[in-house]
């Protein structure tokens, strides 16, 4: 058993072979209109309850707040002024000049230089910075290559599916909650409350109660050759579902396009297989720093440092044995 997935990819490492290509989402936030159809479709298909009573958060047009046991798709809504847009452009420009890895159509010169081809006649002056903008982004489980939740699950309830997604078996999970604190993105959560009926009759039976729950990439739909509910319903194709390598290439092409339009704030999130979680199954195109959307800027799967932690456990135990042994040797009457 390997601690972390190898280059063959998570499904192959989990013993599925190569019959299935890894599936994933690409969420292009630059064309998200914040309609929340994905949230609704997700709730309906997966019969997810609402959290307690209906609440208005009062901070923005987003009243869902965050991903959790009952929310597997969450549309973030951020309003920004001109100053922030310029900062986002600048931080994106810095990323380009760092020489980040890339695949797909390469430019002839160093990274960030003018792409090859005849672009000399194209007007590439950055567009005027708008005075304000709305960032809308549909967040979802990342289905990490090296998934913290899957690694720490003591019952084996969480498994790697044939599509490369990470799925919880509701009937196996005993709700220990270890996975909740192992997810660097704060996605998975134990379902401890929720309701699907109006106030008057709240004696309904909620599925998955007391067990960890999160996006399954609509595993039941994939089995039937359908695509997940969220991507199927997205009216702008901001959420696309497909085979991971294709999505990855699409995402890179889209970033290149946006950069050429002067939108240097565009960047990819999760498309780097060398990152702290081995790349994610759900890719995102963001228009600002990840923390603006509530995403961690440098997530690391805890399993990476587990060998060191185990070494400390062993050392500490040895120290305790030594202390006890010395106590008995020194404690002779």
């Amino acid at each position: 058993m390997s601690l972390l997935s190898g280059p063959a990819g998570p499904s192959a490492d989990a013993g599925w072979g190569h019959d299935h290509e890894r599936k994933g989402f690409f969420t292009d936030t630059s064309i998200c209109i914040g309609c929340k159809a994905c949230e609704v479709a997700c709730k309906e298909w997966n019969r997810n309850p609402i959290d307690g009573n209906l609440e208005i958060l009062g901070s923005s047009y987003d009243n869902t707040g965050e991903l959790g046991a009952n929310t597997w798709r969450h549309v973030a809504f951020v309003e920004q002024g001109q100053e922030r847009i310029e900062e986002a452009r600048e931080s994106g420009r810095k990323l380009v000049s760092l020489g980040m890895p890339g695949i797909g159509p390469k430019s002839s010169g160093p990274r960030g230089a003018t792409p090859a081809g005849d672009l000399s006649t194209t007007d590439r002056t950055p567009p005027d910075t708008p005075e304000f903008r709305w960032l809308m982004s549909s967040d979802v489980c990342k289905h990490c290559t090296n998934a913290g939740c899957l690694d720490v699950c003591p019952t084996g309830a969480i498994f790697r599916s044939e599509h490369g997604s990470v799925v919880v078996q509701e009937d196996v999970c005993n709700g220990c909650g270890t996975c909740v604190s192992a997810c660097p993105f704060g996605v998975i959560e134990r379902r401890d409350d929720g309701t699907i009926s109006p106030h008057a009759n709240r004696d309904e039976k909620i599925d998955r109660m007391g067990t960890a729950s999160k996006c399954t990439m609509c595993h039941d739909r994939l089995v039937d050759g359908e695509q997940p509910a969220c991507s199927a319903t997205c009216p702008t194709q901001s959420i696309t579902f497909g085979e991971h390598p294709d999505l990855s290439a699409d995402a890179r092409r889209r970033v290149t396009d946006l950069h050429e339009q002067g939108m240097t704030e565009a960047r990819l999130y999760g498309a780097n297989p060398k990152d702290g979680v081995g790349g994610t199954g759900s890719l995102f195109l963001l228009l600002d720093e990840p923390e603006v959307y509530g995403l961690p800027p440098d997530p690391q799967v805890p399993t990476k440092s587990l060998p060191t932690s185990y070494a400390k456990v062993g050392l500490a135990a040895a120290g305790m044995v030594a202390a006890a042994a010395l106590s008995f040797l020194g404690g002779r009457r």
Binding site: M1, L3, L57, G58, S59, S60, E66, V78, Q80, G81, Q82, L95, L98, M100, F132, D151, P154, T155, G156, V172, C173, N174, G175, C176, G177, T178, V180, P184, G186, R190, R191, D192, M209, A212, R252, V255, R267, Y269, N272, V277, L286, E289, V292, G294, Q300, P302, S305, S309, Y310, K312, L315, A316, A317, M320, A323, A324, L326, S327, F328, R333
Partner: protein
């Protein structure tokens, strides 16, 4: 100007400014639309996004989630430590012929591991499925390995505890043929217990450390040391509380070593952390508990060293040490649960480590890429 009688209820408003002159078009909460119904009003209050320094977040909402672990987990951490330490003391007492210390430590180990297991099961979302833990052995899961450790330790402790209880009652327990089996198994069982005991006390460091909870994550390198120290002083304290002083000299030495280790490792752990990650250990409820844990550890330690030969001083010191260990576990649990609430504790250390890697020339491992 009003075109409907209901418009009279709206306060008069200045017409909305057009154009790009000001750059900022913030409207007050009371200002809704144009007042004449000609334009839709704002339904949600405009949000001023406050930016403190270099820090951004999504409306200050947490990024990572705390595990749904409540007080029973702290109780388990404490009792698991007592059980582990007592297992070591029981074996030492058996080897050096201290019958009372051996008996009490074995009974303590059994009681603590039993109650700890109950606390652990009680905290599950679906307690009736606790046996699902035994479906698999997973090296990547400290919880899985810990369950097997706990199961093994509890089995050996159960055998030894039954044996001791039987001896205490003059072999009057209805054990039947089991009595002879237990007598034969005493040696192997006590060996098994002493092998698993220190691991039971220390694995919880990896259990908490192997998370993304900022304070626990930052304490990865030190939690195991802290927990074995806390276990040593607690088990020593328990022995001092229950056993006459004639047999507890090793327990007192172990407790003293535990106090030193506890205080030192807690300070070293805090020093190694980003200030934002250490803050939950020093402030609020967790801070108070940990301050008292340290005080009680030092008081108990001094009592042990100076007055450990006196039965009453020894018992009082033992109680102080037990309380200290319990407070340490509660404090560490609460600090972790608190640390996830502020996204700054996630964002700032992560941005710093990312920047440090970039400064060191590693630019290919960021999750954010330009293409």
């Amino acid at each position: 100007m009003s075109i409907s009688e209901f418009d009279a209820d709206r306060p008069p408003q200045a017409p909305r400014r057009r154009g790009r002159g000001g750059g900022r078009r913030r409207r007050g909460l009371t200002e809704v639309g144009m007042g004449d119904g000609s334009r839709e009003g704002a339904v949600v209050e405009d949000v001023e996004i406050e930016r403190a320094g270099e820090f951004d977040s999504y409306y200050g909402r947490p990024i990572v989630k705390a595990p749904p672990w409540r007080e029973p987990i702290a109780v388990y951490l404490f009792l698991g430590g007592v059980a582990g330490g007592s297992g070591l003391l029981a074996f030492g007492a058996q080897c050096t012929d201290r019958p009372l210390l051996r008996r009490h430590s074995r009974l303590l180990a059994l009681g603590a591991v039993g109650a700890g297991t109950v606390a652990l099961i009680e905290d599950l979302g679906r307690p009736e499925r606790f046996l699902n833990m035994m479906r698999t052995v997973k090296v990547t899961s400290p919880m899985s390995l810990g369950t097997w450790l706990l199961g093994g330790f509890a089995t050996f402790s159960g055998m030894l505890g039954a044996l001791e209880a039987d001896r205490m009652t003059g072999e009057r327990l209805p054990l039947g043929v089991l009595r002879r089996l237990l007598d034969v198994a005493e040696g192997p069982a006590s060996l098994g217990q002493v092998v698993l005991a220190p691991l039971l006390a220390s694995y919880t460091g990896a259990l908490l450390g192997n998370t993304v909870v900022p304070t626990w994550e930052a304490g990865r390198g030190h939690l195991s040391y802290l927990f074995v120290s806390s276990a040593s002083l607690a088990a020593g304290g328990a022995a001092m509380l229950t056993t006459p002083v004639a047999e507890t000299r090793p327990a007192r030495l172990l407790a003293t070593a535990g106090v030193v280790g506890d205080v030192v490792s807690m300070h070293r752990m805090k020093e190694s952390m980003h200030p934002l990650e250490a803050e939950p250990l020093e402030t609020g409820r967790a801070g108070t508990l940990l301050t008292w844990a340290e005080r009680l550890a030092i008081i108990g330690g001094l009592g042990t060293v100076l007055g450990g030969r006196n039965r009453y001083v020894a018992a009082a010191s033992g109680a102080a040490l037990l309380a200290s260990s319990a407070l340490t576990r509660f404090g560490v649990l609460y600090a972790g649960l608190e640390s996830v609430k502020d996204p700054r504790r996630v964002v700032e250390p992560q941005k710093e480590r990312l920047a440090a890697r970039r400064a060191a020339g590693i630019t290919d491992d960021s999750i954010t890429t330009a293409g």
